[in-house]
Symmetry: C2
Subunit: 515 residues, 2 copies
Amino acid sequence: MRNNIGLLLTKRAMLSPAMDGLVEVERGRRFTFPGVNARANRTANALRALGVGPGDRVALLLMNGVEFTESFFAIAKIGAVVVPLNWRLVPDELAFILGDSGATALVFDEEFRTTVSNLHGRGAGATAVRHWIEVGTSAGRAEFARAYDEIQADASDAEPPIGAGDDDDAYIMYTSGTTGLPKGVVHTHESVLWACFTIALTADTRYRDRYAIVLPLFHVGALTPLLGNVQRGITSVLMRAFDPVRLYETIAAERVTVLLAVPAMLNFMLQVPDHGQYDVSSLRWVMSGAAPVPVTLIESYAKRGIEIVQVYGLTESCGPACLINPEDAITHAGSTGKPFFHTDVRVVDEAGTDVAPGTPGEVLVRGKHVMKGYWNRPDATAETIRDGWLHTGDVATVDAEGFVYINDRKKDMIISGGENIYPAEIENVILSHPKVREVAVIGQPSAKWGESPLAVVVKQDDSLTEADVVEWSRGKLAGYKRPRTVRFVDEIPRNPAGKILKRVLRDRFPEPATE
Amino acid sequence: MRNNIGLLLTKRAMLSPAMDGLVEVERGRRFTFPGVNARANRTANALRALGVGPGDRVALLLMNGVEFTESFFAIAKIGAVVVPLNWRLVPDELAFILGDSGATALVFDEEFRTTVSNLHGRGAGATAVRHWIEVGTSAGRAEFARAYDEIQADASDAEPPIGAGDDDDAYIMYTSGTTGLPKGVVHTHESVLWACFTIALTADTRYRDRYAIVLPLFHVGALTPLLGNVQRGITSVLMRAFDPVRLYETIAAERVTVLLAVPAMLNFMLQVPDHGQYDVSSLRWVMSGAAPVPVTLIESYAKRGIEIVQVYGLTESCGPACLINPEDAITHAGSTGKPFFHTDVRVVDEAGTDVAPGTPGEVLVRGKHVMKGYWNRPDATAETIRDGWLHTGDVATVDAEGFVYINDRKKDMIISGGENIYPAEIENVILSHPKVREVAVIGQPSAKWGESPLAVVVKQDDSLTEADVVEWSRGKLAGYKRPRTVRFVDEIPRNPAGKILKRVLRDRFPEPATE
């Protein structure tokens, strides 16, 4: 018996025929698990009729909704390989990923017709795409594309022959690397299954939960929960775009029990005027990640009976690495918790030896949910997975109780006067100032020290001054770590997963201000 | 990274250090997960000091409690193989199993000192046991045995070296077979893990549940839940013996949320006078199995807000096969439900073709939780696992919705008080009586036990009495297997091939005689 992740949907449809499988918030549609499965089978059989078979790559440029979900399961069932695309990318970036993955089919939302027309217009040499399939409700469509609805309607809803399983490739997800060229992270049917298992065993998800996903499904942090929900018998409530008021209304109307959101979104929700008027009594907990959640935020939600569970994860680990429960998050502020079940985490020095408590080192992750490797990049794979351990490049410390504290991404490290400075440490201190809403710390060139930290701050209260921020860290941080300069901005740039885009900030503030 | 099921405890101790891991009802002791893990490590290191290593078999003759639990995890960690023994068996039966498994160490409770002394007295040729280890709180112990507490106290609580994983053997559990000789069902670390996964994904268990186990842990139906509880972060509340009043008191005192019990026990609980006085408000659901649960019983519990979830399972499948939720159990009375997640079930005719709805066929089970095979019985293994499918020997029908109805055990198995009884084993014993010519054993309905064995006998000598037959099996068969009633006939009905027609006998003796 070989495990195929497409069959998670087949099985759930059999076990929970009457349960809502999927709810689309903006489009107001809802589907039972058998409903989604029948649609997935139609897509699978339609793709087979186009000649798509085991090992072929099929790219998805789709917003959150039933089409993304059913296409994912359909492609997996027939043994083809999903390439989920970040729809915030520009055509040049998408063309690179399509070319690198060798995808022969592309399913896209009508919203992205202009972008896809650009890609198509580059000609047959630019990508290997032969089948352009447009999802849309409006009458028009790109003249070179087939209509998704039509090819689906023409196909049978019978279960297709299963085309892959176990250690065969299931999907390729691209991440930007330190080199600037995206690399394709390859996950197999087995690594995806184990990611679902670790979540089911570590987080407090329950049969019949109603789980709202606001993050885009092209991110592993949203995709793995979606797959886990199908496996566990949980209704996925999908939003295409984050809107805090709409989210409040959805939580009340759909009786959402679990929410997946990054800290910035949780912050926005607290800025909604009179947000206390919304009924959030169904909501048991929030899974958050991609950035540390300030203790004040955890406490604000706790007042309404909502726990915030923080996760540290990577595309390369199919999501799970470490998790911290809210009670620990308050007593161990700044920690990302402990490894997921069936996951091993070590923090090591450059010789590969486990560091003593409190000493920074590189985070290594091991587990059956770790990627097979980077697509067509044996060099990068060999560099990243050594002796079975994924070398994350992230720097952390571990305390005596085993709690992991991510200090920073290795590449973000600031070196000042020969001392290593981890921006996260400074950010945690500044964030604790009551008049600070958000902060990001970057290194700036310094004639004297090599580099110096700059704090980029979003005010919570207009009266906040640079001197306030500089003073705040006195006595809380060693002299060499304390930022002497502060820049105030309206917004900290983040990627769709909520991760701060430090490169954007470095481009914006390349040199120390000379006033 | 190789999975070792002993590490489930190590990991849970790390993730949930403050949670109750195990509560012993009668002895009033309670242990955190790190507490159980430290004890398991001591046992592991003590066994290593005795020379027990990877692949060696270690038998456990232990009632439910911390020593069974920690020994199981200890043996698994060091790569040895657990042989859990049914303490209801008589010395002859135990001697066979010890000999067949080749166990070199035996850990036993002081309650079984007489039985074990009998085994020890048979000499070195009878079994391979070299290390006799007695668990007890009283001062005395068998002179040939070491004291468990002492060897544990002398050992380190550091994690031992991990001695096995994945497809290495984890335990051998004996079941009586059609031939009458027990066969050892071999489960690997992997098959056990997948059994835990299927339970976590199919049943409504939750992190921080409090799960009462009244069935003995030498049964797969109790052992797999115990292991799953450690994996999922659930407190196991262990009882050594079933006592309905004590169980009510325990549910109230320990705030039990899930209970594992066979239907006979659930019935006994309803017979307790004034049982409505006990606080069962914490109890969400009961997992039951081994016999169909009458709808009236389900409804009685539903009135107090308690769901009864029925499971159909086998030792060979490490427990899980089918499960039915209470709402379906009422609308589909008599059904055992649908296959667990990550489990495939088919019902086939003699040609191996799936039967039409309503037509009886043999139940086949497939999944990564199915046994590796029978210990040292390649013939029986090849006969039972064919083309990757476990041939259960059970006869069932499937309805149009996919619900499975077990009609009969092909092997004529009788289930009495949750224990499997194989008629052939009893028949072999009775046939050895010089005044018996022929015998057939069938199950009769029993209000108390579900079923009880009836011996149908053809006399060789007219002087044979019912009391002779009943007495003959004393000391040769465990108490629960011994028939209390005998019916004498002139002829045992057989088909032209000479096979006994048990259905004819069941029709002739449908109910216990009331004299």
